[in-house]
Symmetry: C2
Subunit: 457 residues, 2 copies
């Protein structure tokens, strides 16, 4: 077998023990908060039927779905005439029946429909699994990455929206973020704005344009609105709405005035008010909650609340987002099941935490004690102590005999092992073992029993 | 968008909250033991370059690797002449550059070679990730399933082998298994047997035949040996060896006699002796360790110890296995790096535990308290209590108002929620809330403060 220089595919990554420890720290923290709020974990297969995924993410999305080549003699199923047109798109469906999961939302909708008779509604589930997209890889954008989602279906209560805000607050606070904003909007307000200017059919054009306020400023938005067919009168009506200032309550009051003639717009205001009321009677730990009516986020399936989370400590895109959707399972034939969900951007949260140095120094400490010895005799002497330490639930390693002590201690340092116990012939004779705290450098000669007691404390 | 009846691909599975809780229980237990022995987690991408995987699992394996169709206009890269031969195998490599991980061992070897300069050897890693095989699905065999592996590379010490036995013992004991056997053999003994009958080139034929002793009995094995070209004299020499009886020490003594003329055979005996010695100075909690020279397991890359684990409580194939390999990274150009590893068969362990009813009843208990109320007023009253409970790290849900209490209590039962707190108008007036233990049925009227105290205890 010829030796090849190994690599991983573009846009995919290996995770080292140190990276895994940090990733687990993030995922475990978020999962713990999901559980605290009553969300339960499910998993779905990495492979879905191609028909489950196609048509759910728009034409661009369809192209970015990784398709799996049928097994065996895959060409036998392909129409030969079609094949000789050399039109890839035409024969994709004949070469491939399965594809890799593109997000966690569509598989979740499929799951709910398939298992509707076993599920107790409201169904609060979380899911932390990788997804795959044939995107052009670039800094911070990968072809394989984890999504970390919580969704509830079968409950239209706005308590769920309020709890999502609290989940973001608690999880990100636990991870050590000290200044972040949860932006809140409601699709019904966007519809209301379209309604008051009599452009019900142009909600998407409107939202695409005002969503860019952050990036292109007011003049840019106005230019874009004009290009998208809004006239000066429209723009005059839209302008004060997108330039709302003040507290959330003040913004909401202005909005109610502006949207007075739109039933759906006022409904959106009511919904936001309810969410704010729920949150007011609890209290947020760290987050700033900001009503931002320029927030649009994915235009397709959201129908109520929309969320987006941004850190104010470093420059970084959104680290979370979500919203309410009234008909996600409709695509699989189950109508009228409302749901809402949020997602954490784990890779970005990782980068933020690295930049702010937020990972506890203990994150990567796994083995606590390394026992070092010089020879087989020392090894034999060490074995009962090794077992005692492990029986006391202390992660312990015995470095196999036959390696210089210096190298063994290097191993301890590289693995961030806190304590070493060195067993040489002096130690075996006296029963006093060399016990060293590798962090402080403090070294003592102690009997095994005392070392054990110190470590158990 | 047309509604379709959703399904998952053959051989793949969804995992419900109850199933996930049980799976997590297994994985968390095994991971905890891996960590206790100094193993650290890594992850590799689900997608590998096709060239990394092909040729590593034999011709049959190559066919079972799921290939990913190249993105975009994939036909443009295919030689048109080749295409019109309609020979699937011939053009697979032109339609596909990437494939799904088939096991965790080859990606691990690739990882070690790629990251050799960052790794501290001996490198003890564990990995728990799904793998995919285009096998014909059947009972207990899936196209997507998790592997759960620990390997050490860069240490030839037999202490590692001994620790693998201890890891199996501790993890399976922790999971509640009460009677299981860890079978131990050594490839060098199999080579020794071939050597004493002067059939060095037929080790594989020999091992394939005697590996079947369990299934086809002695007569079957003899028949198979004859078919594979072993003569009567060979068989007379092999017979006593495969029929070894008695304790491990007795078997080893007989083996030493039989293999006296084979240096490699005696080396194998020495290695087994060393492993037994290490284990004797610790002690196994539950496992029976049995020297079984008919154990062959994967013929390709093992060069020293071989392990296999079987439960004696229910009929089930092996629930774990592994061994030592002296040249795994050679396929990627890094020679002379010895390693050893084991794997847990998580799906089978799950089935064994289900059959023996070994999952703790608490496994699927996630939410501890459900607060139920009748209306918005009750909800508002409940919110501060809800937050207090959560701040005390008690997983708590508030059922959104507007649903009959009966249905709320059903929800608590279905989710195995231990306690409910019901807040009606009486309760709000008196400040005495209805607190119920859903397991015992015991119900009390208590002020919120006392409920909190009871739950924190």
């Amino acid at each position: 077998m010829a030796s090849i220089k190994p690599s991983v595919p573009k846009g995919t990554r290996d995770f080292s023990p140190a990276e895994m420890a940090k990733r687990n720290y993030i995922f475990d923290t978020i999962k713990g908060v999901f559980r605290k709020y009553g969300y339960q974990q499910i998993e779905t297969p990495a492979i879905e039927n191609l028909s489950t995924l196609m048509g759910k993410y728009g034409d661009e999305g369809d192209k970015l779905i990784f398709k799996i080549l049928n097994s065996g003699d895959f060409l036998s199923k392909v129409d030969q005439q079609k094949l000789t047109t050399y039109n890839s798109q035409l024969i994709t469906g004949e070469l491939s029946e399965k594809a890799l999961r593109y997000d966690l939302t569509v598989p979740f909708a499929r799951y709910v429909v398939m298992h509707q008779n076993e599920i107790t509604f409201p169904f609060k589930r979380f899911q932390v699994q990788p997804v795959w997209r044939a995107d052009r890889p670039q800094r911070g954008r990968y072809r394989e990455f984890y999504q970390c989602d919580a969704d509830v279906v079968g409950s239209d209560s706005l308590l769920n929206e309020a709890e999502f805000v609290m989940i973001y607050d608690e999880a990100l606070c636990k991870l050590g973020l000290k200044d972040f904003t949860i932006k809140l909007n409601n699709r019904k307000i966007l519809s209301g704005i379209a309604e008051i200017i009599d452009k019900n059919d142009n909600v998407i054009d409107l939202t695409v344009a005002i969503d860019k306020l952050d990036k292109i400023g007011l003049d840019g938005v106005i230019k874009e609105l004009r290009e998208r067919g809004f006239n000066q009168a429209d723009i005059e009506k839209i302008k004060p709405v997108i330039l709302l200032q003040g507290t959330n309550e003040m913004k909401l009051a202005s909005l109610r005035e502006a949207l007075a003639s739109s039933a759906i717009g006022l409904k959106g205001c009511d919904e936001i008010q309810s969410v704010l009321d729920y949150i007011a009677s609890c209290e947020l730990k760290t987050a700033t909650l900001e009503l931002d009516i320029t927030l649009a986020r994915g235009l397709n399936y959201y129908t109520g609340a929309i969320f987006e989370v941004k850190t104010n400590e470093v420059a970084m895109g959104s680290i979370g987002g979500g919203g309410r959707y009234d008909d996600l399972t409709g695509m699989f034939g189950l109508k009228d099941l409302t749901g809402a969900g949020i997602s954490f951007g784990a890779d970005r949260i990782y980068d933020v935490m690295e930049e702010l140095n937020l990972f506890p120094v203990t994150t990567n400490q796994s083995t606590r004690v390394l026992i070092c010895c010089f020879d087989k005799e020392g090894e034999k002497y060490a074995l009962p102590l090794l077992q005692e330490l492990r029986n006391s639930n202390i992660n312990t390693e015995l470095y196999p005999a036959g390696t210089k002590i210096k190298k063994q201690l290097e191993y301890a340092n590289n693995k961030q092992i806190h304590y070493t116990i060195v067993i040489g012939s002096d130690e075996m004779q006296s029963g006093l073992l060399s016990f060293k705290d590798m962090t402080s450098g403090l070294q003592e000669k102690l009997p095994a029993k005392q070392i054990l007691e110190k470590l158990i404390q």
